[in-house]
């Protein structure tokens, strides 16, 4: 009998040597005359255990990790093919608390299936949402997405149904569906993980958007820092086309839907939807003034739905199980689930999909195990480089859009970066401005010039030069950037800066440092 062994092909697993582990498993199984089949699955998201090797047994899948190639011989000797005990063993994968405590809707298949197997995808509920959508009118699809309460998971949290309705009602000879896979926020990797681990769910979600709006062309704009995701998505598109799921007719009988993946070119700002559209058009990735909204005049001036990867990949589940089933998860105006990404200086870093409403402390301390360094936690940054820094005493805050906004923070794309007590928050504030200066598209003055002035002002504060006056100047600059910038880049950079200043004023008041920075 063939024993199935799972070794992730996810880039995070590869970064810890998954290919070498897979190779060693294959070689040694051959030498031992054992009949095994190695499946390269996606990641389960327990990244501190990567490479996480799983073996299919009669009881279920048994997990071992983190496995190095040098551990492989001892795994065979321990009889891991029948779930034998080993120092790297974790028992049944599904019973590992980090996984067992999740509510996996969007990531239900990720890490379970072979990402490029259409049979696996169908066997695990794939294309059920698309099949249901095929039987509905566009208006009914849009209504379901609206009723689910799904808000854009890229960071802006705009109701997805409203975007779709606007594009549906627009009249044009060509409409587009664009997926924003320019996941540039530090601390986030949910888009990458699902593109590598369950690419058909993205294709399915975009095809449903096509049905809902009458768009017959779609683009997935993937950042160039994600070559593995780009490769998997391209393969998945080809196989979905040859299986007749997309292309000339959705599922062989619907309208056309042609999908193409495009590579970004290393510009953080292209995660902003309008600069992404300009970039797709082959231009500098500069932000456009709104209105017109992309849903009215987007890619090449045509009505365009542009959503984040996780927004699209949430839709198949909503269509298959019903809007109210999705809305039953979550709280207040934050409905459904969020794939939280635990990152940075954290002991058990990984992706934790959960209904909105879990506390930050549960995520960071209970599930995440505190800092990787073992030193006291000092700050968490939530929502990427434009998100606020929160001190340890704010960890009892509930994770939802409104609760974080109430403490001057934001959920963003759901990344939580942990810092221990060695962090210098004045330096972090300076970096926020520096990053904005490097990545600003340059179109509006508050962002282009403001960020540079911000770096200079913070440098002066660190150097002990007129600290009180420069603090007032920095606050004034932040107000200007918040109110006057064209998009979230300049508009939200003040968030990390001001939160550092508000919660960690002592770091701006240290003995003067020389001006030469980094």
């Amino acid at each position: 009998m063939t024993t199935k062994i799972f070794v992730p092909r996810d880039a995070a697993a590869l970064s810890m040597g998954a290919d070498k582990v897979a190779e060693a498993l294959a070689t040694q199984a051959r030498q031992r005359g054992l009949d095994v089949r190695i499946i390269r699955n996606g990641s389960r998201g327990m990244l501190w255990l990567e490479p996480l090797v799983e073996v299919e047994t009669t009881q279920g899948r048994v997990a071992y990790g983190p496995v190095r190639a040098s551990d492989v011989a001892s795994l065979f000797e321990a009889g891991f093919l029948s779930g034998g005990d080993h120092r790297l063993g974790h028992g049944l994968t599904e019973k590992i608390p980090f996984l067992a405590r999740q509510q996996r809707l969007t990531f239900a298949r990720c890490g379970v299936t072979d990402p490029l197997s259409l049979d696996d995808y169908k066997a695990h509920g794939g294309f059920e949402g698309l099949a249901k959508a095929m039987a509905l009118t566009p208006a009914a699809i849009v209504e379901a997405v609206t009723q689910s309460g799904l808000r854009g998971r890229g960071g802006a949290a705009f109701p997805t149904g409203i975007k779709w309705r606007t594009a549906m009602n627009a009249v044009a000879d060509q409409k587009y569906i664009v997926c924003n896979a320019d996941e540039g926020d530090s601390g986030t990797y949910a888009d990458r993980m699902i593109m590598e681990g369950d690419p058909f769910s993205l294709i399915e979600g975009m095809a449903i958007a096509g049905l809902a709006t009458g768009a017959t062309r779609g683009y997935i704009y993937i950042r160039s820092e994600y070559p593995h995701a780009f490769g998997v998505i391209n393969e998945a598109i080809r196989s979905a086309e040859s299986a007749g799921i997309i292309g000339k007719a959705i599922m062989g009988k619907g309208p056309a839907f042609h999908l193409e993946a495009r590579l970004g070119a290393g510009a953080y700002i292209c995660g902003e939807e309008t600069s992404l559209l300009d970039s797709l058009e082959g231009k500098r990735g500069q932000v456009r003034a709104k209105p017109p909204l992309p849903a009215i005049s987007g890619l090449f001036g045509k009505p365009t739905v542009i959503n984040n990867v996780i927004s699209f990949t949430s839709v198949p589940w909503i269509m298959a199980h019903g809007a109210s089933a999705y809305a039953d998860y979550g709280m207040g105006r934050s409905r459904g689930t969020l794939p939280v990404q635990l990152a940075g200086n954290i002991k058990f870093g990984g992706l934790f999909e959960t209904a909105f409403g879990i506390s930050l402390r549960t995520l960071v301390e209970e599930l995440g195990g505190g800092t990787h360094s073992g030193r006291p936690l000092r700050a968490v940054q939530i929502g990427g480089p434009l998100g606020a820094y929160h001190p340890a005493h704010q960890l009892d805050t509930i994770l939802d859009y409104e609760a974080l906004a109430a403490i001057k923070g934001m959920v963003g794309h759901g990344g939580i970066v942990v810092f221990d007590d060695s962090v210098d928050m004045a330096r972090q504030a300076r970096f926020a401005m520096e990053f904005c200066a490097v990545e600003s598209c340059g179109k509006c003055t508050p962002c282009r010039i403001g960020a540079r002035r911000g770096v200079e002002v913070i440098d002066k504060m660190i150097a002990g030069d007129h600290r009180a006056e420069n603090r007032a100047l920095l606050e004034d600059l932040c107000t200007l950037m918040t109110d006057g910038s064209l998009c979230a880049m300049g508009g939200l950079t003040p968030l990390p800066v001001m939160s550092a200043l508000t919660h960690f004023p002592e770091d701006f008041d240290k003995p003067a440092m020389p001006l030469a920075a980094e």
């Binding site: 880039a11 970064s15 530090s186 820092e225 593995h228 495009r262 082959g282 870093g349 990984g350 490097v438």
Partner: protein
């Protein structure tokens, strides 16, 4: 702002107009063809020679200024050849929390190499990158397209030695 500019005196010799025209012709039919073509030229030649600018402008019926503007906007498009190996060091927040700046300092102190530089023998270029999506296994880096997690000083030394030792 993005983009590396090349002085006229640094214009390299590897440019082959016929090959460049073939790459451009193959992709010019795409919607928004410029970025895919620039990626393909980078792949084919290792950089985007500025002598491509008029060819691109002509093929896509846009101005040379538009082509130049696009090339110079994006970090990925280099207008001069890079090292044979490229190491991208992530220096965004998650990697900062795990000490990526000490890797940068180590690279400078031990190997006299800073992000943005190439070794004199053109064996290795080092670049700063902001996020590789490996934020639970920081510090992260990417060597010739292969992702690395939990990068430490020893591994970094090995990368530099391997790259500079592999020169032909």
């Amino acid at each position: 702002m993005a983009g590396a500019h090349t002085k006229a005196s640094e214009v390299p010799a590897e440019f082959d107009e016929t090959r460049a025209r073939m790459v451009i012709a193959r992709l010019a039919h795409l919607e928004g063809a410029l970025l895919p073509i620039l990626h393909e030229l980078s792949h084919e030649f290792g950089y985007v020679d500025i002598r491509n600018v008029p060819l691109l402008a002509e093929a896509l019926n846009i101005s040379r200024a538009d082509v130049h503007g696009t090339i110079s906007f994006y970090h990925d498009f280099k207008t001069a050849p890079q090292g044979r190996h490229v190491l991208k060091l992530c220096r965004a927040e998650a990697c900062q929390s795990m000490g990526c700046e000490s890797l940068v300092a180590h690279l400078a102190a031990t190997h006299h190499l800073a992000p943005g530089e190439t070794t004199p023998d053109r064996a290795l270029s080092v670049e700063t990158v902001y996020c590789l999506g490996n934020c639970a296994l920081s510090p992260a880096a990417m060597l010739d397209g292969e992702l690395i997690g939990r990068l430490d000083h020893d591994q970094l030394d090995q990368i530099v030695l391997d790259a500079t030792g592999m020169r032909s």
